[in-house]
Amino acid sequence: MSLDLLVAILMTIAGAATPLLIAGLGELVVEKSGVLNLGVEGMMLIGAVTGFAVATTTGFPVLGAFAAMVAAALASAIFAVLVLTLMANQVATGLALTIFGTGVSALIGAPFVGITTPTLGTIFPDWLTSTPLLRLVFGHSPLVYLGLLLTLGVWWFLNRSRAGLILRAVGESDTAAHAIGYPVLKVRYLAILFGGAMAGLAGSYYSLVLTPMWAERLTAGRGWIAIALVVFASWRPGRMLAGAYLFGLVITMELQAKAAGFNMFAPEFLAALPYIATIAVLAIISAAKRGSANAPACLGKSFRATA
């Protein structure tokens, strides 16, 4: 295998993993605060279409990425009002958010079908990407580096900061956190908004980097994979990183194996492999005695302040 080929494969892996990682980290923080938001796919689509629309009209893809975060955070705010203030069922509301996002993104995107956009290119000067090895380090989209920084940031926030400790307390026992005076709903609102912004950013990765175009259902179900990865990662940022890159590896190797002409396995089997891997890991985690799956104790439950 030539160096060029190896570098090309590794870069494709990073590209496939990054949006899953970013959306997954957002959802991880939301779930750590005790809220289950199944609307990731819908928020990603809203982010993808907004990012694309802003990038094509202004000519600045960076502005598009910011607009994507804002738009998806607004969509998540609707979800937050429904499940936190009005105490609607989180599963049903999350699903509704996905359906809403699919529809509204198609509506907003209608005038943008069939055109292309300036992309979020590399941030380093050309001489730093002139050889394959340099390209492997410096040749990625800025969002790939951002994904890695976010992993570190979320880990630090959850495990080393006081605010993160409060967020975890809210997710583990909302009544106890409330009793000692922490603002449960405020913490959850902020967590949901953060999750929305991350989903939007991940969505804009598709419309501004990977496939610089808008088409309906552009993300093709990646939001669901991000949600599954949170469980796969047992709510830990480090494992989230590993899970997203493992998923990227399996997707890429499946295609590379086919492109190289290996046909030992049926293509259907290879396509199913990432999902088989997810189920296998989930089974192993659940079987392990210590800490089991590590799910936040209040995940998915509505909170009503008593006294």
């Binding site: 060029d4 080929l5 090309a8 494969i9 494709t12 590209g15 496939a16 198609a106 995107g109 209608a110 079908v113 069939g114 055109i115 292309t116 598709y206 990977l210 496939t211 610089p212 175009m213 808008w214 088409a215 309906e216 259902r217 552009l218 993300t219 093709a220 990646r222 997707i251 890429t252 295609l255 590379q256 086919k258 492109a259 190289a260 002409g261 046909n263 293509p267 259907e268 396509a271």
Partner: protein, 365 residues
């Protein structure tokens, strides 16, 4: 509650009886035609895919333009192939549509089932091979493989590595036929030309289509062609400086440098003809497979970057196909193992093409 629902049930039964008696004379007049036709379309993807479904929807709009207020159309998009499709098709039949066009291979069996239950409604299924004996169901398809032969010729003349990458959806006859036509035409230019196929197991998944393209490019292909519905492979080819072709519609805007031409699906003449037949009372279940000669398959304008000799060779195939003097599936054709499958001078009959499940020599899958 029970009384209410029973009353509703009785009312519904009475309404049904009335409807049945009023439908009967209407049906008897069928041979004399209709003043207005309600036509419905079932799409497998979103109308904004800028590919397969987009082409069908453009034809629907064109049909409305051609027939004016004599036709009323509606559509349902994003219908999954399988049981859900049956529900959608049945709903459309119940809603009083006179004709329902189901536009994806996987809608065939659901269409057959619903057609049996609604003998007064006409059904037309795209790309299928059987109507299950229904005489109110027709089949229609286009000979896209004629366009694939043009692409194969361009690919082999412009490729430096002698290898094309083919991003494919599912191994069904329609797709297999396209791959074979591409490789056979390419082989006439360069006998050592290879076509490497990657199955993405989806009609529409932009991210996966793009990643598959990258995989093919990194393995030495410098021409990309696709049988999936999004422009993502074109964009990935554009970025890498390779050449590629549009699918179902002119996709030049996505890849101005890479896009050499595209196979453009023109369904409008057929839709107009069939709805007109229904208006005239001359509709009959049929099985048609039309191509370039009938204007159902067109090539998008050739890119200016294409050298003059390549343009001439591509245009020659278009002209000869229209004239009926060029047929890509003419022997001798060898299969993957190198055995002669179709002897010299013999053509593969249409019914065998529609069942094609083997690859010609030079296809790597």
């Amino acid at each position: 509650m029970f009384a209410l629902s029973r009353r509703k049930l009785l009312a519904a039964g009475a309404a049904f009886g009335l409807a049945a008696t009023s439908i009967a004379p209407a049906f008897a007049q069928d041979g004399e035609g209709k003043d207005k036709v309600k036509a419905a379309f079932v799409y497998v993807g979103p109308v904004g895919d800028f590919g397969w479904t987009y082409a069908h929807d453009q034809a629907r709009k064109c049909l409305e333009k051609n027939l004016g207020d004599k036709v009323e159309t509606s559509y349902v998009e994003n219908v999954a192939e399988g049981p859900d499709a049956e529900r959608v098709i049945r709903q459309l039949a119940q809603d009083g549509n006179d004709i329902v066009f189901t536009t994806s291979f996987g809608f065939m069996n659901p269409t057959i089932k619903v057609a049996k239950q609604f003998p007064n409604v006409k059904f037309e299924h795209a790309t299928g091979y059987t109507t299950g004996g229904n005489d109110n169901m027709g089949l229609y398809n286009s000979k896209f493989y004629q366009g694939r032969a043009v692409l194969g010729t361009i690919a082999a003349m412009m490729s430096k590595t002698g290898k094309a990458g083919y991003v494919a959806s599912f191994p069904i006859p329609e797709v297999v036929m396209g791959i074979n036509a591409f490789e056979l035409a390419a082989k006439k230019v360069n006998p050592d030309f290879k076509t490497q196929v990657v199955w993405v197991n989806s009609w529409y998944d932009p991210a996966k289509e793009a990643d598959a393209t990258k995989a093919l490019l990194s393995q030495g292909a410098d021409v990309i062609t696709q049988h999936t519905d999004s422009p993502a492979p074109l964009q990935a080819a554009e970025e890498a400086g390779a050449i590629a072709f549009g699918q179902a519609w002119n996709m030049e805007s996505f890849a101005p440098n890479a896009h050499m031409t595209a196979i453009v699906d023109q369904w409008c003449p057929y839709y107009t003809k069939r709805v007109q037949a229904l208006l005239d009372g001359t509709w009959k279940a049929d099985n048609v497979w039309l191509g370039m000669a009938e204007g159902e398959v067109e090539m998008a304008p050739f890119n200016d970057k294409m050298p003059a000799d390549v343009k001439a060779a591509a245009q020659k195939i278009v002209d000869e196909t229209k004239a009926g003097t060029y047929e890509v599936f003419t022997g001798p054709i060898k299969d993957q193992s190198g055995e002669v499958k179709i002897p010299e001078g013999e053509k593969i009959p249409d019914e065998d093409l529609l069942k094609m499940d083997w690859y010609v020599e030079g296809v790597q899958s």
